[in-house]
Structure formats: structure tokens, C-alpha cells
């Protein structure tokens, strides 16, 4: 499960209470330096282990040789990074749209909520990765298959987070809207949606990491192009260095996509923040 490395970083960053901030205070410097120092130390230890232990590159390439491969063959890696990133992004956007839409349905229709919600939770218990090969049968080995699988595994956290956000609206505010003869649509655009935005973004942050996992799994089994394909292909030929390089690039792509979502969150926060402008 090499694909999980890039996405794990995102999952950790999206952990509770970890909202990205732009301004760093003195404690902020410490908060950045400490994890960076640990990462550098780990890489150094890895390098030392490989060099001193004389570990063959087929078993474990060193960080330096991996980096050298990336520098020398960046064009090959880029060719494979583009479809992976693109498909992950498309899967993520569709998963977000589907998730928000389902949350709206659940919020506004009691019938839909009662019928849908238990099934969604049950559905979440299925080990969805096991279903990946079926997507090939249903949708072929093209991009649509991987994107569909990415949506399939990524939309759930968006539904849960968004419907929690819609439900979090102050009841007094809803009563005020009702007293002002506001339409449901006005309540949604003026109150419910802005109030739910922080929840929606926390769902989206989980969804982007899951979408990448979905695409990588899709690439593992459809084997056409992409970083997942490259990892499987290189591993089969005992080209561990290539696999490792592909994983590193995957991490970078994952961080890039996650960063875009985080930037979107900051932009939304600017508009819908309770803090002074």
C-alpha cells in the first residue's frame, strides 16, 4: 500500500484542531522546526543505515539515491504524476459535490434521512478496496473507472461532516429567519451553508486524501499509466529505486492537492470568520 504514504501526511495534518495558519509566532517557529528536525534526522538515520549496513538498493534504496533518481528522471515521473493528480482532483471534486448534495437531501428530507443515513453508515463498513476490481468490470480500465472508484471511497466523510454542519446551525437563528418570512433557499444561502463551511472543509480534507488512495488503487489494477502503475511496474522488475521515487513524487502531489484545499479553507475563513477582519 505504497499510495498511503502520500495521503497519510494529509490525514495527519487534518487531525483534530489542526487548522493551518499563515502567521507564525515564536511558538509557531518551534512547531515547524521540531517536526522538520525529526524528519531530517530520520532520513539521515536511513541513509546511514543503508550505507553502513551495505544494504542492496533492491531491498532499500537510500534517500540520496532516490533523490538522484528523481532529479535525473523527473520527466518520466512527471508524465506519470499528471494523470494521477488530475484523476485524484476530479474524483475529489465529484466526491465533494456528491457529498454536499447528499447532505442537503438528508438535511431537508426526514424521509430521505431515515432511509439513507443508516444505509450510508452500513455502506461505510464495507472494505471498499475489495470492490475495486468490480469497477474494472463495470467501467473498464479507463480513467472513468479510477475516478468513479475515487468518488466511491471519498464521498462519505463529506456527507457526514456536511450534514453535521447543516445541523449545527443555531436554532434561534432559524427562528429569526422564520419570523422574517425567509424562504428555505434564503436560510440555506444566508445561514446554513456559511455556518456549515468549517465542517464541509474538514470533510473535504479527509476526502482529498481518500480520493488519492482511490486513484492509486485503481492504477494498481488497471495498469496503464500513473504513479500507482509506475510503483507496481517498477516493483515487479525489482526496480525499488523507481518505486521509492514514485512514492516521493506521490507525496508531493498529495501535499499539493491537500494544500489547495487548505488554501480554499483559508479563503472561506476570510469571508466567514467570527474574528475581526
Amino acid at each position: 500500500m505504497a499510495g498511503a504514504i502520500g495521503t497519510e501526511t494529509g490525514a495527519i495534518l487534518s487531525g483534530p484542531g489542526q487548522t493551518p495558519r499563515l502567521g507564525f509566532g515564536l511558538s509557531g517557529v518551534r512547531a515547524v522546526l521540531l517536526p522538520v528536525a525529526l524528519a531530517v534526522a530520520t532520513l539521515a538515520a536511513w541513509q546511514a543505515f543503508v550505507v553502513i549496513g551495505n544494504i542492496p538498493p533492491v531491498i532499500l534504496p537510500s534517500p540520496v539515491s532516490t533523490l538522484r533518481y528523481i532529479v535525473e528522471h523527473w520527466d518520466i515521473l512527471l508524465t506519470h504524476a499528471v494523470p494521477t493528480t488530475l484523476e485524484s482532483a476530479i474524483g475529489f471534486v465529484l466526491a465533494t459535490l456528491l457529498g454536499v448534495l447528499l447532505a442537503i437531501v438528508i438535511t431537508y428530507s426526514t424521509l430521505a434521512r431515515e432511509a439513507l443515513y443508516p444505509n450510508l453508515v452500513f455502506f461505510q463498513l464495507i472494505p471498499k478496496i475489495a470492490l475495486a476490481p468490480l469497477f474494472i468490470i463495470w467501467l473498464g480500465i479507463g480513467m472513468q473507472s479510477r475516478v468513479a472508484f475515487a468518488v466511491f471511497i471519498a464521498f462519505f466523510p463529506v456527507v457526514i461532516a456536511t450534514s453535521a454542519g447543516f445541523a449545527s446551525v443555531d436554532r434561534g437563528m432559524l427562528r429569526l429567519c422564520r419570523s422574517l418570512t425567509a424562504s428555505e433557499w434564503q436560510v440555506f444561502t444566508h445561514v446554513r451553508f456559511p455556518a456549515a463551511l468549517p465542517h464541509i472543509f474538514s470533510g473535504m480534507k479527509v476526502a482529498i486524501t481518500l480520493a488519492i488512495i482511490g486513484v492509486i488503487i485503481g492504477e494498481f489494477i488497471t495498469a496503464q499509466a500513473g504513479l500507482g502503475y509506475l510503483i507496481i511496474f517498477a516493483t515487479a522488475r525489482a526496480d525499488t529505486e523507481v518505486s521509492m521515487a514514485a512514492i516521493v513524487v506521490l507525496c508531493v502531489c498529495g501535499l499539493l492537492l491537500y494544500g489547495l484545499v487548505a488554501l480554499g479553507e483559508i479563503a472561506a475563513n476570510r469571508i466567514f470568520s467570527a474574528d475581526p477582519a
Partner: protein, 282 residues
């Protein structure tokens, strides 16, 4: 409404010169409870003239808030009729302004945007109301706070914003549901004095729900006491104080006498023996 004779005059006659703005006739509210139906309000009848400040006073659970919510069109009476300005209230209406116990401001909007919220909902042109919002904020002492967010304001200031928001679309009547009960005692006194001043300026018709006897006596032209089981109107009394009013009138022996009378009425309605406590408190 300026053409109407203002009842904001000391010792105004009890008879209403014109048709009342609000007419509540035998209104009743029965909730279907688990242990049989509960009558929250039993046959309440009340008429309120233009420009009057009327308090609905009573202990918790006396049905005063339920009655107010029915006047607002947010609750449906199970019996009787409510008429505002000649037409029945059967659902929320745009000529009603409401202030709740909590300010319920949008935390991400500035003060002035919160005041303009009803204008956006009612789809009225924003530009002319922006100026009015500024004037209202200045009137409640929040000039210069237009671009602050609610998190930067104190509880009392937030409730002043809510008052401006309720007034922005110039509703025929202002309904206030225990608006200051979440504030500390000192802020509450200040808010009462400020509200009295604001209402003298705007001459709005106000229905003010409270369980504070002093607050009701200080603010109102008329105090309507609700109580008993099932709850009904126990007393409807005009307050014999002139305007403008300052908090100092609470030192007045006449004020003490009125408060004592209201307290006794409430206690009798609840079947509790009068206690020996001082009449000045809540």
C-alpha cells in the same frame, strides 16, 4: 403612525381613542402532551393601541412567551384570533420585528451587515437602508462599531444590535422576548434605560415579555400580568409614571407601591402566600 395620538403621556386615559393596532381575542394554546393535553394559554384577550409599550409579566411557564410567539405568527393558536393592523396573524409577517433572549447575530457578519439582514431577506433595496442602519446604530450608542464583528461586542452591545436589526425595516410592532434576561444586573439596568430612551424616540408599539417586575414597571405604559393554571390574563394595569423615565424613578415611593401591587397579584394568581420579602426586588 405619527398622526396617532401618542399614549406616551403620563396618566393617559384608559380608553383607546382609535382602533387598536393589535387585537387578541380569546386566544388559547393547547399542547398535546404525553400525559394528556397541556393548556399553555387559556383564553387570553388583550388590545394594544398604537405606540403603546405593553409588558407581559409572569413567572416562568405562565404562557407569556407562548402568547408572544403566537402574536409573532411563529406558533399557531389552537383557539381564538389575533389581528394586527386589521388583518389576522396566521403566519410570520414582515411588519413584525422580534428580539429574542439571545441576540442571534450571524458571527461572520459585521454589525451593520447584521442590522441589514432583514433587508436582504425581504429583498428591499440595500442602499437607502444602509444609511438608516447607521442612524439606528448611532441611536443605540453603537456609532463607530459598524464594522465590528459580534465577537468583539459585549452581551449588551450585541442585544443593541439585535434591537437595530428588529427596527431596520420599520415594523408596525416590536416583540421582545425576555431580551435582557441573559445580561448581568448592571448591564440590564443600563439596557432598560437605553431601551426606554430609544422607544421614546421611535414611538414604536412594543410587547415586552419579562419575569422581572421592576423591569416591566419601569419600561411599560401598561403591564399585563399572566398567571394561574391554566394561564390567563390576571391584571392589566397602566403605569402611572411620566416620560422620559430615568432609573431614579425606582427610588420613588409610588414605584415601590406599584411593584408591590404587581408582586401580590402574581403571588395570588399562583396561590402562594405573600412573602415578607421586600417588594423592590424581582
Amino acid at each position: 403612525m405619527a398622526a396617532q395620538p401618542s399614549p406616551r403621556v403620563a396618566n393617559a386615559p384608559l380608553t383607546q381613542p382609535a382602533a387598536p393596532l393589535l387585537r387578541i381575542a380569546q386566544v388559547e394554546k393547547v399542547y398535546g402532551g404525553r400525559q394528556g393535553p397541556v393548556r399553555a394559554v387559556a383564553s387570553a384577550s388583550l388590545e394594544i393601541g398604537r405606540g403603546e409599550f405593553v409588558s407581559l409579566l409572569g413567572p416562568s411557564g405562565c404562557g407569556k412567551s407562548t402568547l408572544l410567539m403566537m402574536i409573532a405568527g411563529l406558533e399557531t393558536p389552537t383557539g381564538g384570533t389575533i389581528e394586527l393592523d386589521g388583518s389576522p396573524v396566521i403566519r410570520p409577517r414582515r411588519d413584525i420585528g422580534i428580539i429574542f433572549q439571545d441576540a442571534t447575530l450571524l458571527p461572520w457578519k459585521t454589525t451593520i451587515e447584521n442590522v441589514l439582514f432583514p433587508i436582504r431577506i425581504l429583498k428591499l433595496p440595500l442602499a437607502p437602508y444602509r444609511e438608516r442602519a447607521r442612524e439606528l446604530l448611532a441611536m443605540v450608542g453603537l456609532g463607530g462599531f459598524e464594522n465590528h464583528k459580534p465577537s468583539q461586542l459585549s452581551g449588551g452591545m450585541r442585544q443593541r444590535v439585535a434591537i437595530c436589526r428588529a427596527l431596520i425595516h420599520d415594523p408596525a410592532i416590536l416583540l421582545m422576548d425576555e431580551p435582557f434576561s441573559a445580561l448581568d444586573a448592571i448591564t440590564r439596568d443600563q439596557m432598560n434605560e437605553a431601551l426606554s430612551e430609544i422607544m421614546d424616540k421611535t414611538a414604536k408599539t412594543v410587547i415586552f415579555v419579562t419575569h422581572s417586575i421592576r423591569e416591566a414597571a419601569f419600561l411599560s405604559d401598561r403591564v399585563v400580568v399572566m398567571g394561574g393554571r391554566p394561564s390567563h390574563v390576571v391584571l392589566d394595569e397602566r403605569m402611572p409614571f411620566g416620560r422620559p423615565r430615568r432609573l431614579a424613578i425606582e427610588e420613588n415611593p409610588e414605584f415601590g407601591r406599584v411593584v408591590r401591587h404587581l408582586r401580590l397579584t402574581i403571588e395570588q394568581a399562583h396561590g402562594t402566600a405573600p412573602t415578607g420579602r421586600s417588594a423592590g426586588g424581582e
